[in-house]
Symmetry: C2
Subunit: 576 residues, 2 copies
């Protein structure tokens, strides 16, 4: 692979991975066949499910996995913060990376070492030079990855990824894979919870760019919120890169930047159907007076700067005028101004597309706004006017969304930022990546903390469904067991439940994992982002409502076959 | 600027910025001189201070700010997840970006539009084509940025950045600047709180890579935790890029990958001073027996796989052996095995560098481990042995760190991941970017929510210190007021306090903001990352202890001069 194609994420890992890699290499064990599983221990947000996400990015990382030897280019992950190395630009052959910034004109990038050289400097002196020669040859060409399809509903202890390959290589992949799956799955799950709460009809928009952990956190939030069921993002780059529909109108700064109607430029607007342009500020003023009269709002309390902002915006976007109504007083200024401008537009044949509200009690205000829109609709005989969509945002959380109650039915679209992207109820999923087999021997972590114990051996996982097609159990088996079949009576040891086996008869059995990566290549067609999103919706739809309750859900059963159960007991006893 | 140097972050913004930009342009207002302030409303974590961070990245973004016209390269921020477009690699001229992934071999990147073209597709049809011609010329060459030096202690309502320039341009910068400052400042502040809690002597290591919001979130966490007072990171890429010291040893997977001493390869280790190599597993076994006897631990309960892992690691890194002691039983296996191996090393002249503990009650176990180390130290006459550093990690939070109590004194190093990088106490800082002046007219947002109101006008900020050199007030003045001087009696209206003015006499006055960016260039020498870190430490040191209390701190005073106070009142009244 040419250097320009090398992934620069190989060093996005914890140092101990290299320490261990050296340990394995020194002991001649680096080639031993090993398998790790990536899973999580508990559903996030005290819920009953998670959506598995991040697989596509893991596969891309694997395809490019290798360590650079001498590469003076800045790493792409921060290349957007390059600076021109000098005032004239372009004079230097090595673009400067602006991180540990120095005096203007100095080149911090020049001092960043190539991967191998950097690892050498970070390991104890005396590390065998032949190890670094070996690292130069390392890539993912001998790695095999099986995974649950991206967007699937997943449960604790069931591996999202099964990563097989030479011990040293699969160990080195740990931190990066965790980094790529953890947040993706967490925020997709969070988005799915908002979708469940909002119901299928309300539009949901992700707007967390400014609250995420930097540029990449924000892009991940946009991408995986979309997977989880959001409709739009405010993030233009996410729209450009992923094709997610973007939305956005104006901010308060736009509104406050106007102070009087005299500032509005240009002033003329032609009717939609064509014809003589009219002086739109004048027309809007006339309609504002009528609206004030109808709504019993004192005309003198209406802010003129806000009116000017709305008028200017309407002239600019006559077919997509939306009013942000809470810069001053919502009811005494914002809504009357919106009605004045929207009715003036209506006279010219244009339909306003919405009202936006960004503070205060959103549901109560939305209901009041709807009443005012309805009054205008009746008075001025514009049936569509009462249905003008109301969009709200203001620190919306699961709790505030629940509190909307019946008044919330007047809300058409909800913008969610902080509580979506930062997942404050549980800001990390806590995925783990554990060795389950090495050199043909099943392994497990037998710690004193029961919950931190892992399940040994190479496994297969089956989703068992009832006659209605609802999944009721994920069954973990050893990989060499023959798969269960529909109608078979099975013994299952449910994790975290009584030590007795349960007898179940599935009406249908689905193999959970597919092999996605083999011989250094992606070997299974990957779905597009909208396909992943549809799969997530379908996967959630099939799940029983009791597992989807956001609070105190009924735990979904994850169980072991007898063989796996026996293996676990044997290894536990052997260590005691 | 050549295309290769263009920033690809220009579209990392909210769509409404472009909508507003078009509104301003259409109204002929895009060139109007405007000023925005970036600030926060409340200190994070219910604390009394924040550390301002992210400035260096903001400046780098500004230098490269412009929109691409036609650029088929993948954007650098995700370029690390490129995949080879086909199995042979290198055949295609355009590297594929692996995001909305499709069948292997398809090129999703090929469909990503250049910036300008994408913005055109996202705005309503009918948007004037001349606007896009104008966007092609937009950059930050007319923007001026003044800022508080990076790493400074900062307080609510005092601008971290003051951004001046043509209205359209400075509006477009909003979301990206917020994205770059918000998390940087939040995590630096969080790190500083951990440092205050841990005291100056314990070593603190950031290890949140797998819990952050993707690769960039993780790198930001490493970088700004270091600024806030951490000593190390586990993230190798952060070490490579930023020069932060990295640390790491082994994981449980390394320990469980061994099951018997027979697997240890190679077995021989020479004494440090030179001489005949010895069979190290044998030597360690002998010492393990002595240690078990001394510590009254049954020899048969000691796990042999763990012993093999320690022995192998010690042979690999004889000068830097550290034992991860909690894979099986800490007291009945991990510590005895550590002592056996470390004492065997000691016989050969090597000193073990530490014990690591990753589960259970960390402080209590550390105290018990210290007693065991002390017993060995006395029995085998190795004074240094009792001081072997104990490193701990396991979901450490502010609360658990506080709970360490006196037993915690036996802990030498603390690794913190989730609770550092995700800032669960408050996962976003909530910075805002508000218009304060346009075309010479001061502006403010006069909303019904008092806290969302902004302070109008171009301002200067002064930090007032008492005779002991402690800052006691940040005073906001209009930019055209003459600066206060040391010894002057000043009237100050404290924000959020009584409507009466306070009279204060500062012993010293410091101007808070410096101009960092002018004419498209960084115009002030930028400190290195270690310099930013030192500045943060010094800035925190000078702050009074009452403001640094982690719970219920005394609020630091932020006040206005009479002129600013009068302007605020005037604008409020004018809008009523």
């Amino acid at each position: 692979m040419e250097p320009g194609r090398r992934s620069r994420l190989a060093l996005l890992t914890d140092l101990y991975q290299f320490t261990m890699a050296y340990g394995y290499w020194r002991a001649g064990r680096h080639w031993e066949p090993a398998e790790f599983e990536l899973s999580f221990r508990r559903c996030p947000f005290q819920g009953g499910f998670a959506l598995g996400a991040g697989l596509g990015e893991c596969l891309a990382f694997l395809r490019g996995f290798s360590l650079s030897q001498a590469d003076p280019r800045p790493p792409p992950d921060r290349a957007e913060t390059r600076v021109r190395p000098d005032a004239t630009g372009g004079a230097s052959p090595t673009p400067a990376l602006k991180h540990v910034s120095t005096q203007p004109g100095r080149l911090p990038w020049g001092s960043v070492k190539a991967d191998i050289e950097y690892v050498r400097s970070a390991l104890p002196s005396g590390t065998d030079e032949a190890f670094f020669d070996y690292l130069r040859t390392v890539d993912a060409s001998e790695v095999t990855v099986a995974a649950v399809p991206e967007g699937s509903v997943v449960f604790p202890r069931v591996p999202l990824l099964q990563v097989k390959g030479p011990l040293l290589v699969v160990q080195l992949l740990e931190s990066t894979l965790l980094c790529l799956v953890n947040y993706a799955s967490l925020v997709a799950t969070n988005a799915a919870r908002f979708r469940l709460l909002a119901g299928p009809d309300k539009k949901l928009m992700e707007m967390g760019l400014r609250r995420a952990q930097g540029p990449d956190g924000a892009l991940s939030a946009s991408k995986y919120s979309y997977v989880g069921g959001f409709d739009f993002t405010s993030n233009v780059l996410a729209g450009q890169l992923y094709g997610i529909p973007v939305r956005g109108t104006v901010a308060h700064s736009y509104v406050v930047s106007f102070s009087a109607l005299a500032e509005v430029q240009p002033r003329m607007l032609a009717p939609r159907a064509g014809g003589e342009p009219v002086d739109f500020p004048c027309l809007a003023t006339t309609w504002l007076e009528r609206a004030c009269q109808l709504l019993r709002v004192p005309r003198e309390g209406v802010n003129e700067g806000e009116l000017a902002a709305f008028v200017s915006y309407a002239i600019t976007f006559p077919c997509s005028f939306q009013g942000l109504v809470d810069t001053y007083s919502v009811m005494r200024s914002g809504v009357p101004n919106f009605c004045g401008v929207a009715l003036a537009l209506a006279q010219l044949g244009y339909r306003a597309i919405g009202v936006r509200l960004d503070s205060g009690d959103l549901a109560r205000q939305a209901a009041a706004i709807r009443r005012m829109l309805r009054a205008c609709s009746v008075q001025f005989q514009l049936p569509w006017f009462e249905a003008v969509p109301i969009a709200v945002s203001n620190d919306v959380s699961e709790q505030s969304l629940e509190a909307f109650g019946t008044e919330g039915s007047d809300i058409d679209m909800i913008g969610i930022g902080t509580h979506l992207v930062t997942c404050p109820q549980q800001p990390s999923l806590g995925c783990i990546y554990k060795l389950v087999q090495v050199n043909g021997r099943p392994r497990m972590k037998l710690t004193e903390e029961e919950e931190k114990m892992t399940l040994p051996g190479c496994k297969a996982a089956y989703r068992l469904r009832d006659a209605a097609g609802r999944p009721f159990m994920d069954l973990l088996a050893l990989a060499d067991e023959s798969p269960p079949w529909a109608g078979q009576e099975l013994e299952a040891w449910v994790l975290g439940a009584s030590p007795e086996a349960l007898r179940v008869i599935p009406a249908a059995v689905e193999t959970l994992h597919r092999t996605y990566f083999k011989d250094g290549q992606v070997c299974e067609p990957l779905p597009s982002l909208p396909e992943v999103r549809s799969h997530a919706a379908a996967s959630l739809r099939s799940l029983g409502p009791a597992h989807k309750r956001l609070r105190e859900p009924e735990p979904y059963q994850v169980a072991m076959t007898e063989k796996l159960h026996v293996l676990l007991q044997t290894l536990r006893q052997a260590s005691q």
